[in-house]
Assembly symmetry: C2
Amino acid sequence: MALSQDETTARGRATAEMVAERANVSRVAVSRAFNPHASLKPAKRELILRIAQELNYTPDRAARALVSGRSHLVGVIVPDVCSHWESQEIDALTTALQAEGFATLLFKTRIDYSMDEQLLAYMRGFNPDSVIAFVENVKPTTLAKFLDRAVPIYIHYPRSGAPEDRQAGPLHDRLNVLHRTGVEQAVSLLQGYGARRIAYVSGVDKSRANTAREDMLRVVMAERGLAPPIIAASDFSYDRAYAATLDLFRVGEGADAVFAANDVGAFGVIDALRHELNLRVPEDVKVVGFDDIAQSHWKSYNLTTVKFDLEERVRALVRLILRRLNNPDAPPLEETLNTRLVVRGTVG
Amino acid sequence: MALSQDETTARGRATAEMVAERANVSRVAVSRAFNPHASLKPAKRELILRIAQELNYTPDRAARALVSGRSHLVGVIVPDVCSHWESQEIDALTTALQAEGFATLLFKTRIDYSMDEQLLAYMRGFNPDSVIAFVENVKPTTLAKFLDRAVPIYIHYPRSGAPEDRQAGPLHDRLNVLHRTGVEQAVSLLQGYGARRIAYVSGVDKSRANTAREDMLRVVMAERGLAPPIIAASDFSYDRAYAATLDLFRVGEGADAVFAANDVGAFGVIDALRHELNLRVPEDVKVVGFDDIAQSHWKSYNLTTVKFDLEERVRALVRLILRRLNNPDAPPLEETLNTRLVVRGTVG
DNA sequence: TTGTAGGCGTTATCAG
DNA sequence: CTGATAACGCCTACAA
């Protein structure tokens, strides 16, 4: 059967109408063919889908979003796409979302971790079904103000003690990340190898992840009778961790062991120790990181680190998203993630 | 002025209608207020925008896309979001696109570099205005079949000789990446330091980037009177490059210098040489990479590498996208990117 | 199981 | 410069 003039010369995409005409069915039937829930005689559905494929037709998600209220877009806000942990998380998240029929919509905030309202307004225009903020200093209130339908997901770091009350406020779901186990294991290990004076090369000052890690380290060290950690200010980056380490050992008092706020920072620490200060790792100084990114097993570093299970974390996030979408009016949802120590060569 | 019942209790987002009502103007005026090109009395525009902000209104891009035919979405297809070069490129690209009012829509292909049609059909549903494929083995024909409005952008690696004819076929734009300059500089440097037997630790076999690099290396080495490179098969990853290096020196004939298909591979080469084979870099073996990712200056590697200027590359891509959108029927567009050697510590 | 009617929120077109 | 009207492509009623 030859294509009509219209079909062959059409510039734009094929529409449902064209498929319907060709299959001798109504437009609605075409819509139903693409919606598994709708009832349609199997043979008819099959025919429609076949013709759709021939004509290279796919339903337009923008039009679909307009009427159904679901965009199948998940907004992801990151300060730094190319930082190692984030990029690994985005990768895994995109794969998982794709499998569920969603696509990842990426937004970058300013590097200083400030969440400008302009970006939020901008993002809202795309009408994401859900938003995950890998950004630290934005309050649920602010985000909720800009997102009407989507329920934001927060990464939360509970204190060690009793479960805190949830402050009343706009609805948001959260992923609780528990640092205690991993930090306890790390401090034990360091103590076991005789470390007493432990330094902490920090992450970005305002960052909640950084605060949570530093606090937990302080708590665990106190419980185990150690003096508070020596704090060396840094910002999660290799370069600043490198510089902070030089300061710590040249100007400051040095340390037996260094805890870095993340793995990349730990690499900076290790390189400063080995290549500039001529100290051996782990013989002279032990080093522990946070995250367990893919590079941490590379031989040049072979880093002992407090691991967050990336796959587990992404699964938890996707669960939160899907549960919320299936039940928009549900009370706040939570998922919890634990940490554990991965022992490699920088402590010993 | 008190909000009406409807406005305060409304679940969904504010609509243009609500803003219009409140500002005593027509819906169309609201639309115009948000469109810089449209003519509207400045005072009126200001009023509308103020009220819009109060009501927290932003135009719905899905609806806008439906009628205007522009989604302001740029699809990016990557095999591996978290590989270093890609993540750095996505980061820079997202920033640049955001500044132009576009958002990045991320898609992951299978790791084996195969571009399944299912993914393309899936992506098309989102109606991207443009598509950048960081994927290798997909032909323009395939991509064009699935994208009607969007014009794909290809990364192309011209041979050294005369400019080839463009094969007739579906329209697509391209970014030409010229390897010659950087490779010539690198080979000179290696020769200058006495290297004669040069090995190439490859990238993924099917990858065009890999083929282009290997070919250019072969050509340049021949021109300079060197024997063809010894090929060690790898796949751009640290781990396989590490293993390939062990093979090369334990089972194979070894080499004076190793060219890795990318920086991450070079890190694997260096670590294998230093930590497993007890060879010194650069004294015993010299190493050169490709890309110049952010990690290449880290002290543990301090890699000499053939640099692609990321910022320049992203600017070129954005130029291609904008030019094409402003002129959909333009003939094929091209941009060209050069390479140069960044000299650090792994050759000397 | 199928088809008809109506509307989702916006912009283009055409009047004034 | 402004406003009415008609699409855009699809889905959810509702009726048959």
